[in-house]
């Protein structure tokens, strides 16, 4: 599903793109799998986080990729704190 929301990429150096639910879903599933969550549970967590992010995006026509990461982390923390921690750390590990 594609919302008409412009996502400004990190640092503003790359072109902005439309929000893509699948992309967010895939990244949340991957993070959950990284902390050894079973695949089914990972899919279910990703589904609920995506729904929460989309609800938030309804009021925000233009956001940065970092905004999406922050909102997704907030909702992921409720579902699985360890996965949320790793999701948050992804860009600040190196």
């Amino acid at each position: 599903m594609t919302l008409s929301v412009d996502v400004i990429k990190r640092g503003g150096q790359r072109q902005s793109e439309q929000f893509m639910r699948d992309k967010l879903h895939t990244s949340i599933v991957a993070t959950c799998l990284s902390v050894r969550v079973p695949t089914g549970q990972a899919e279910s967590i990703a589904h609920s986080v995506c729904e929460a992010v989309i609800a938030w995006l309804q009021q925000h026509p233009e956001v940065t990729s970092q905004d999406i990461r922050i909102v997704a982390t907030k909702h992921l923390r409720i579902q699985h704190p360890e996965a949320a921690y790793l999701y948050e750390q992804n860009r600040i590990t190196i």
Binding site: A30, L33, S34, V35, E82, I92, T93, I94
Partner: protein, 237 residues
């Protein structure tokens, strides 16, 4: 300097090298991407093993290269001024580590050029084959050259004074010890430990590791100053 003291210096220098964290960060990320992409445990093992082997090869190459340069310039007896300069470098690097090693943000991001950090991040995500993981291992050691040059230089100065057999032993000891932290994380990941827990431990203890790295270099420089510089000046050597 006798062989025991020489190997002790190499051992301590390698321990300081082991406390540096770039390779560990890259290995953690690489494993995260591999597990997240639903790769099999065997493939995860192949990728991480190739990464560790790459880091080992680059460590051996760098140590041998620095030793070769020293041999070319000073044969197997580097003058006192080189020891003094190397000691100065160690103190400078130790201070840099205490001041700058980690970026003052959340996470375990290091004070390396931002472009290089982004490159490593992107390459880690794109790595799918063992050969790429091997190359990533090589790059991650190179990326920390600014910090590891100090223990490498001191070990090379010690190595060039040793007989051939002990030079090989010294290189082996340095490589194995300097990879200890990487090997521990590799074993933890391979045995199914959670990456979240590993990363949390690293973040919680990052300032302790930073202090230990700097302090290790200071201890090393004091030992070298006493044995090589003061020893030569007062005629113990």
């Amino acid at each position: 300097m006798d062989i025991t003291s020489s190997l002790a210096i190499i051992f301590l220098a390698a321990l300081v090298h082991a406390s540096f964290q770039l390779s560990v960060s890259v290995l953690t990320l690489l494993s995260g991407h591999s597990i997240g992409a639903k790769h099999s445990q065997a493939r995860l093992l192949r990728l991480t093993s190739s990464f560790v082997i790459g880091a080992a090869v680059m460590t051996v190459l760098l140590l041998s290269f620095v030793s070769l340069i020293l041999i070319q310039f000073y044969s197997n007896n580097p003058p006192l001024i080189v020891w003094a300069a190397a000691s100065g470098l160690l103190v400078g690097v130790a201070l840099c580590i205490w001041l700058f090693y980690y970026r003052h943000d959340k996470g375990t991001a290091l004070w390396i050029p931002k472009a290089f950090a982004i490159y490593l991040n992107d390459r880690t995500k794109a790595t799918k084959r063992s050969a790429e993981a091997f190359g990533l291992g090589l790059s991650s050691v190179l990326g920390e050259l600014l910090f590891i040059i100090a223990p490498l230089l001191i070990s090379a100065l010690v190595l060039v004074q040793l007989p051939a057999f002990w030079q090989l032993a010294g290189i082996t000891i340095y490589t194995v010890i300097s990879l200890l932290s990487l090997l521990i994380v590799w074993v933890l990941i391979s045995s199914g430990h959670s990456l979240g827990k590993i990363q949390k431990w690293r973040e919680s203890n990052k300032y302790f590791l930073q202090f230990v790295s700097g302090a290790g270099l200071i201890v090393l420089v004091l030992f070298i100053y006493a044995v090589e510089i003061l020893g030569s000046t007062v005629g113990f050597n």
